[in-house]
């Protein structure tokens, strides 16, 4: 029972963490080597593509998608897609895909060009996964002078603080409500059960112990 409980709690938090990791913005320092357009037929991985076309037909089976090819500071390739999120999820409200593609094309910097590398920061969300053929979605691009810039993730700090405060406020009120309204009732039921059956195993009520079991407490002896 304990393993079931911890597996459940663990997978819950894993889900929450991966959801946030996918949705919240992240920053990469890269140099852009090329930009291209590719026809994508959405299949099993369609959930990882933007699904809120802005002005296009709704729910098409395939679509041309902009991509940005880059190399990171460790000289490993990283490919970004460049898609409108529109009014849908995640709520980046990005409509300027074509403008972003123009900026990306303008900042190209290849190792064979013989010039000093032009490093840029790409703000993006999402994951790159070769097995699923999914790509992070680029949100914003700006140039930086050197590859070792420090970026303080203000957006994430603010969003995570607000989220924690929000759920903490609800949790505290729920706990207070439970202590004031639900626990006494359960105790009452437990007491009358005891009185009715005259079968007192423990000084605490049966329902009370069941409730503690649900909450993972062991009864005090």
């Amino acid at each position: 029972m304990r393993y079931v409980k911890w597996t459940f709690i663990g997978s819950f938090w894993l889900l929450v963490a991966s959801f946030l990791h996918y949705t919240l913005p992240q920053h990469d320092v890269v140099r852009i080597t090329d930009t291209y357009l590719e026809r994508i037929d959405f299949g099993e991985n369609s959930i990882f593509w933007a699904n809120a076309p802005t002005g296009d037909a709704v729910n098409p089976q395939n679509r041309d998608v902009f991509f940005i090819q880059t190399f990171r500071t460790n000289e490993r390739p990283m490919i970004y897609r460049n898609e409108d999120t529109g009014w849908g999820w995640p709520p980046y409200f990005k409509f300027n895909t074509s403008n972003l593609q123009a900026q990306a094309a303008d900042l190209e910097s290849r190792s064979t060009s013989g010039q000093q590398a032009q490093w840029v920061v790409i703000r993006h969300y999402g994951w790159r996964n070769e097995f699923l053929s999914i790509y992070p979605n680029a949100i914003k691009i700006w140039r930086v002078d050197s590859p070792d810039v420090t970026i303080i993730p203000w957006i994430n700090i603010i969003i995570l603080t607000l989220l924690t405060a929000f759920f903490w406020a609800i949790w505290v009120r729920w706990r207070r409500f439970r202590e004031a309204r639900i626990d006494p009732v359960l105790e009452d039921i437990g007491d009358s059960l005891e009185a009715a059956t005259d079968h007192v195993v423990d000084r605490r009520g049966k329902v009370r112990r069941w409730w503690d079991g649900v909450r993972g407490k062991t009864p005090a002896r």
């Binding site: 076309p53 802005t54 002005g55 709704v58 009014w87 849908g88 409200f93 409509f95 300027n96």
Partner: protein, 89 residues
Amino acid sequence: MVVALARLIVVGFVVLTVIYLSLSFYSRSVRRSKLRRKWEEDIRRGDREEYVRRGLKIYDRSLRRKLLWGVYIVPVVTIAVVIYLVNFN
């Protein structure tokens, strides 16, 4: 564009209305129990329910009550700011 925007507006309106209603009921009940406690502890004169009723009437006109409209205003302003920062900045 229009369909997606309409969906966002409808879903957003429903969700925010649920939040607004629960918050306003919750806030009113917190105020009511505070008024009751104040009557029990300090006043103890006249009708308690009358005192609570008058207190809630003042609460309904208060700034605190009106701040609850922020449930609608804050998300709309946030979305407008995000749209500006992402697309036009």
